[in-house]
């Protein structure tokens, strides 16, 4: 990648330390409980991890995100990017090294897709050749053919295509941190799932630090290495890997928020390949599962097929072991360490 040659940090660590934002409510009193307020928020995101802020609307998750690039200034506390307080850096320089993706995308309607992607490189004075090369590289990366899309205008794109361009634009200057505010909420569920999957694939390559806001628990569980559940009043209700939050909700609020089906949600985090299994019996006609199949999908197949068990395959497609409903159930009893990057 271009950035490696420039010796940039590929990812930065992010820390919230006692961050508070108060808004004055209509009555003029200090309204700590006002919409969007944040109350003494502290957590740490290691470099290269996706941290999802999730919570009901008005819980302050977008406020928290916007305090990182100082679109909103905190009332108290500090936010550290690679150990340095964001308030001490020049605000324009800070924002230019933080990728920013929002739900409405905010593409510039008067600029072509190519110019949109290269907008920050152009502002900081890259040569035309370098801008063009970077634009093509990024469009390919997000799955858009540069030759076909480079000269189109945003109005000529579908919602999903726009959001891809938005991600490409945010990546243009190879930022060590990306802020993503409900980036996939405005597209239909099928496109959303595809964008989520592709983004996770992309992230395995890029290993950026990402702060991701959503109100959707399922999205938080799917996207997050860490999730920060926030509740009304801008308080952090729980912080940890998704499996831990699902297995041990810290409060009634968290338990209610993640849903009564949190057991099933945990199953969606674990795949057949993760299970330790008994040897497979030599019985024909059983359902077979690939290693990447989630336990949730496997359980569903077993229940629908009314089968006691199925065959787990290995990567080469050979039988590896016997998957039973009991084995899936006992997987729920285990605590998993999560999938934080090393």
């Amino acid at each position: 990648m271009t950035a490696a040659g420039r010796g940039h940090a590929r990812a930065a660590s992010l820390e919230f330390r006692g961050v508070t934002k108060r808004y004055r409510d209509a009555a003029g009193a200090d309204g700590a409980a006002a919409r969007g307020a944040v109350n003494d928020l502290s957590f740490e995101v290691p470099a290269g991890a996706i941290c999802v802020l999730v919570g009901p609307s008005g819980c302050g998750k977008t406020t928290s995100l916007k305090m990182v690039n100082r679109l909103i200034e905190p009332t108290a506390g500090e936010i550290l990017l690679d150990g340095a307080n964001v308030m001490t850096e020049d605000v324009t320089a800070l924002r230019r090294r933080i990728g920013y993706v929002i739900q409405q995308v905010g593409l510039f309607p008067h600029l072509t897709v190519g110019r949109n992607v290269a907008v920050i490189p152009a502002l900081v004075g890259w040569s035309e050749d370098r801008q063009q090369a970077r634009t093509d590289e990024l469009l390919s990366l997000v799955g858009l053919d540069p030759a076909q899309y480079r000269s189109r205008y945003p109005a000529q794109l579908s919602g999903g295509e726009r959001q891809r361009v938005g991600v490409a634009r945010a990546l243009a200057a190879d930022p060590p941190l990306m802020l993503m505010d409900e980036p996939f909420a405005a597209v239909d569920p099928i496109v959303r799932e595809r964008l989520q999957d592709e983004f996770l694939r992309l992230q395995r390559e890029l290993a950026k630090t990402i702060l991701f806001v959503t109100h959707d628990v399922d999205e938080a569980i799917k996207m997050g290495d860490l999730i920060a559940v926030m509740e009304e009043g801008g308080r952090l209700a729980q912080f940890g890997p998704p499996d831990q939050v699902l297995a041990h909700p810290a409060s009634d609020f968290v338990a209610r928020f993640v849903g009564a089906d949190r057991g099933l949600k945990r199953l969606s985090l674990v795949t057949i390949g993760d299970l330790k299994l008994e040897p497979a019996p030599d019985r024909p006609g059983l359902p077979a599962f690939r290693p990447e199949t989630s336990l949730r999908d496997a359980l569903s197949v077993l229940l629908v097929a009314d089968a006691r068990g199925g065959i787990a395959l290995d990567d080469a497609g050979r039988p590896r072991g016997f998957v039973t409903v009991d084995a899936i159930a006992s997987a729920l009893a285990e605590d998993r360490p999560g999938r934080l990057p090393a």
Partner: protein, 225 residues
Amino acid sequence: MSSEPLVRWDWLFAHLGPIADRMGQHLYLAGIAVGLGFAISFALAAVSIRRRRLYPFVTLLATAAYTIPSFALFAALVPVTGLTVLTAEIPLVLYTFVLFVPNIVAGFDSVPWDVLDAADGMGFTRGQRWWRVELPLAVPLVVAGLRLASVSTIGLVTVSAILGDSLGGLGYYILDGYHRHFTTEILVGGLLSIALAVFADVAFVLLQRFLTPWAARRTEKARWT
């Protein structure tokens, strides 16, 4: 008298030079009014955008100015500023405000907030945001204001002919033809004024197409999907 034809072509061909001069003066008077009116309106709009509470007052003043009949306003200014270009331009400039200011304000209001949020979040400075994002996106409505104001001003310039032979552009022929019961002159003055207005309107439409190719693409898309 009854044998007088509708158009005396011989008169027309004998006066091509003066007609061209009057046309030039017409465009000159209208050009100054539109240019000056645009500059002042832009400042008024900028103030109105930054201080929203002032906007109703600005609108009120612009509308009030527009309600004064042009004929009366030209006449009222003569004792103050004489039979000068200034007397012609003051009303012409005043009348543009009501056409420019709302269009300019609406132009900047039409910039989507998510686009501004993205620009801020990505690290545009205030100046960069204004020049590279807000101004280009305001162009369609600003140009709409220019079209209205130029057409309206080109029409009004004819009225300034009451200030004397040295003013009024093509309006001179309308007034002179009226006094002399000479239809050819009235038609020349009237039809060429209309032609100038149409010309200005088309020129601004082309300017807008050139400045906002993205807006044309949008309608293209709308047509094909």
